[in-house]
Every structure is written in structure tokens, then in C-alpha cells.
């Protein structure tokens, strides 16, 4: 394979990957809206004011702001129920989200720590 062919291939691949990153960001926002907003609010404000109250605010949440991405991903994947619940409030157990509902947890964590906090 000649250099030109290699360069062309890399350009094409780059072109493929660049929009993919943009799509991932969009997907994370959509994924949040779909899987998280019911309990944590459309803008991460939580649902303390609604009944039943379902989840705490994630915007400004110290765990989201300061926690490691791995730890946040772990909560998404494993949920937080029973004795592991952090909040002595009226919230129910947080369900675990597997691959199907949250296919890209890294992107979702980035969204939680980034755009959601703005």
C-alpha cells in the first residue's frame, strides 16, 4: 500500500472518528434525558420538590463535581441501594444501569461533570 493510499485511509478514518466524538456528546445529553432526568431532573436539579421525590440534585453535587469518573461510573453501573444509599431522604434506591440503557458511561460521566454543571 502506497503512502498516498495510507494518508487517504487515515484521513477517511479521521473523518469517521471526528463526527463520532460529537455524536457521543450529543448522545450523552440524550442518554441523560432518557435515563437520568426522571429522577435527577431535566437540568440536574433533582426532584426534591415533586412527589414522590426520586433523586438528589446532580448539579453542584460534591460527588459528581469532585468524585473520580471511575467512582461515578461505578454508581451508574451498580446502582446505589439499601444500606449503600447516601441520602437519608425520601429517595428510592438508585437502579443499576447496564450496557443497554447506558452504552457509553464514560461519555455520560463527562456530561455530568461538564455540561450539566454549567
Amino acid at each position: 500500500m502506497g503512502n498516498k493510499t495510507l494518508i487517504a485511509t487515515l484521513v477517511l478514518l479521521g473523518g469517521t472518528f471526528a463526527p463520532a466524538a460529537a455524536v457521543a456528546a450529543t448522545d450523552a445529553a440524550e442518554n441523560y434525558k432518557l435515563r437520568c432526568s426522571t429522577c435527577h431532573g431535566a437540568n440536574g436539579q433533582g426532584t426534591r420538590g415533586t412527589l414522590p421525590s426520586l433523586g438528589p440534585a446532580l448539579k453542584g453535587n460534591p460527588f459528581i463535581v469532585n468524585g473520580s469518573p471511575a467512582a461515578i461510573k461505578g454508581v451508574i453501573r451498580k446502582g446505589r441501594s439499601g444500606q449503600k444509599r447516601l441520602y437519608d431522604d425520601t429517595y428510592p434506591n438508585m437502579p443499576a444501569f447496564g450496557f443497554e440503557p447506558v452504552p457509553d458511561p464514560e461519555a455520560l460521566v463527562a456530561y455530568l461533570k461538564g455540561d450539566l454543571q454549567k
Partner: protein, 474 residues
Amino acid sequence: MRFNWKSFATAALGLAGMLLVPIDSQAMPSFARQTGMNCNSCHIGTDNVPNFTRTGRIFAMRGYVRPTVRERLRHDSELVEDLPQYGGDYLALNWDDFFAARLISELAQGGRNTSGVKNDWTSRPLARMAFFYTGPITDWLGLWTELGYLGNNSIQSVTAGNTGPTGLNFYAYDEYRLSTGMDIGPNSFIGMSIGNENPNVVTQWVFPAGLPDMWGNGQGGTGRFKEIMAISFHGFFNDMFWAQVAFVTGDDNISWSDGSNQYAAFAWNIFRTTRNDLWLALELYRGRDSSTQMTSVKNSFICPGACPTGVSDSSLSITNQRGGTNGLIVGAPVVEVKDFNSYKLRIEHSVADRGPHSWILSAVLHGTKENHVDGGKLERTILGGYVRYFYNRTYGFYATTWKDMTYDYTTPAGVVRKTYQKINYALTLLWNPAMNFSTHLVISPRVQNRVFDDERSKYLGKGKSYSLGFEYNF
């Protein structure tokens, strides 16, 4: 082959280990499938009927529409944000998520009757099978419905000589409730529901089962009770105060025109967290359409005239005795109720996952007064208590106790006849290897009748019963 004790012991230990390790089930009933939340979010145990966390109770009060995963109301993967949420283009059909079932099987049951004679040792493999179709129909309308098969036979007796009753060995029941709610401010909503159960199902104060209940129409449809119609208007305000009024066709028949009943409830949610939830509630129920506490009223849909040989209403459990808490008096006259007034004062404390501990404590003071058409009257007051405790949501028990504080019948001639019965109590041991699979051992050390105090010789109190079985929700 020589018996290998080491292999046997290893296998037995392995099996015991498998049985003792709590397993997380993948088979979740409908709400869990719809919301992704596990059973323990809303319940502190489901055997034999649900007990609730604060989330579960308010979820029911609000009408089963929140939380919901809205895209589940449509086709998988179809987002709804830019589409109408309901209307003529909207198909609210996703029954595989909404569908759930419940199986209760009694593996062994026995005991003694009130005379002390030993009962047959029997099994009821299909003691109860219920199907649910439950969840939000639209964004604002929720449905609860249950269709049930209640096995009521002893054909599967493991004691020789017991052939059981005839083939008429079961009855079905069904209940439903359509509910809606509307937010009217932060932590406040109003709602409405219609259904065929007593209106206290809106708050789920029909539970815990085992507490005194002289109303008892918690089951609708054909079966033990006549079908009623209930319309409820209610609201929850400032995350703290519950108010409800409801109208019911009645316990005696389904006609509005010959008298109906009215229900009201007021509650104060004092502590309001999942780990510390305390409710104080007053329920009132009155009206002109009720059967009496004292006697059973025949209400057979299978043999409205004469029953076939070997079949009776009582053997089919299709007599209509008002209330879930037995109020029958041996030798009581059959009377017609002119009107009645009753109340239920309740305090209930629930704690979910405070460390390894979860519990529900509940106490009820429940009273009623009946005025009879013939001029007689009846006054009854019951005090009851209930406790359910779970360790790690796996090992637990519940216990109930209740006693008539007063139960007096006044004849039309004005003679007051007091009644006699000892305190009632029962204990159930629970083991939940999964949150939707529960095994139970129910022990009732005292099974007794109730007599007029001036006929104490008719009292029989040597009965006892036990039942070992399991409940599976899937």
C-alpha cells in the same frame, strides 16, 4: 456402592450454602421492569401483602404515573420528546413490561380446629395465583389491576382419607383502580381515582394485613365480597398532610339508590424519610349500605339457590361477611343494618435499610357502631398491633395481635349482650433469598370462636394452625 459420608456432607453443605446466600433476582415484577428500580425501593417485604416505604406509599397515592420511563409507553428506542404524549396517535400498549404475576404456594398446612380435633395435614400448591397489569396508561393516568385465582381446596391432602370438596374448589376475584394526579405546587398534589375496592387502598392503609379491619372490601369483583364502586378525591399537601373524601356504593349491594357509604381520611406524615417514616392517620367510614359484623350473609355466585351435595357457601368461602377481621358471634341473630358509623385511628412507622435493619410498626384503634332496622344496635372497638422486621432484607418475621376491647349487641328490647373471645395473635417467620421470592412459616397458636358472654359454654378455643409455603412475584 458404599455410602460416602464425606461426599454427602460436602453436597449437603454446598446445598445449604446455596440456599443461605441471598441472591439478587433478575425476575422483576412490572413496576420494577418499568422503572428499573428494585422492589425494595417501594416495599419492606411483600409476603403476604406489600408493606411500603415512603416512596411506595406516595407512588400509590400519586396514581402510579411517577416515576415512569416514558419511552417505554411507546416502542422501544423511540424517543418521545418531540411527539405528542397522548392522543389519538398514541398507543399506550406495552404489556410485556406492565404484566406481572404472583404465585403463593402452601407446601404444608395443618393444625387443630376450635374443638381441639386435629386437622388433616394438607398442601395447597396453587393457593393463590394473581396476574397484574399495572402502570401509567398516559402521562397523567395510571392503572392498577389484579386478576386472581384463589385456590381454596384441600384436594391435595397428603393425609389418607381426605378427598376434599367437589370440583367447585376455587374462586376468582379481580380488582382495579384508575388514578390520576396533578401537581399544584412544590411537594403538593391533588388526585382522583375510581375503582372497586375500599378507598383506603389509595393510601394503602388497607395494609398491613392482620391489623383489625371491619371494612374489608379490599378485594373487588366476584368472590368473597360483592363488588363495590368507589370514587375518591384526595390530595397531599406540603409533603406532609393527606386529605381524602370518597363515595362507595356500599358493602351490602352495588346499588347507589338504596343507600351508599362515605369515606374520609386525614393524615399527618410526621417524619418523612425512607429510613424514618411516621404517619398518623384518622379514617372515617359511614353510611347506610352495609351488612352486619355479627353474621355472614349468603352471597354465592355458584349456588345462589341450593348448593350441590357436599358443597356449601362456607366451604367455598363465598359468604359475604363484612370486614377482614372476623366478627362472627355464635348464635347471633340475622339483622339488617340501617346505618353505621366507624373510624380507624392509625399510627405507622417504617424504616428501610437503617444499617441492616428494616421494620414496620403499626397500631390501630378501630371502632364501629351499627343501628339495625329492628331497633337493635351493635358497638365494637378493636385494638390491634403489627410488627415486621427484616435483617438485611433477608431474615425476618412479622407478628400481629388484636383484641375486641368492646363488642356489645343491644337487642331491640334494650338488653345488652356482651361477647367473649380471648386475644388473637399470630407469628410468621420469613426468609427472602431474593427480594421477590419469600418463604413463610405462619403460626397461629390460637384459633377460636366468639360467643355471647351469657352463653360462655359455647366458647371453643383449642384451635391452632400453621402453614409453610412460599410466594414468588415475577
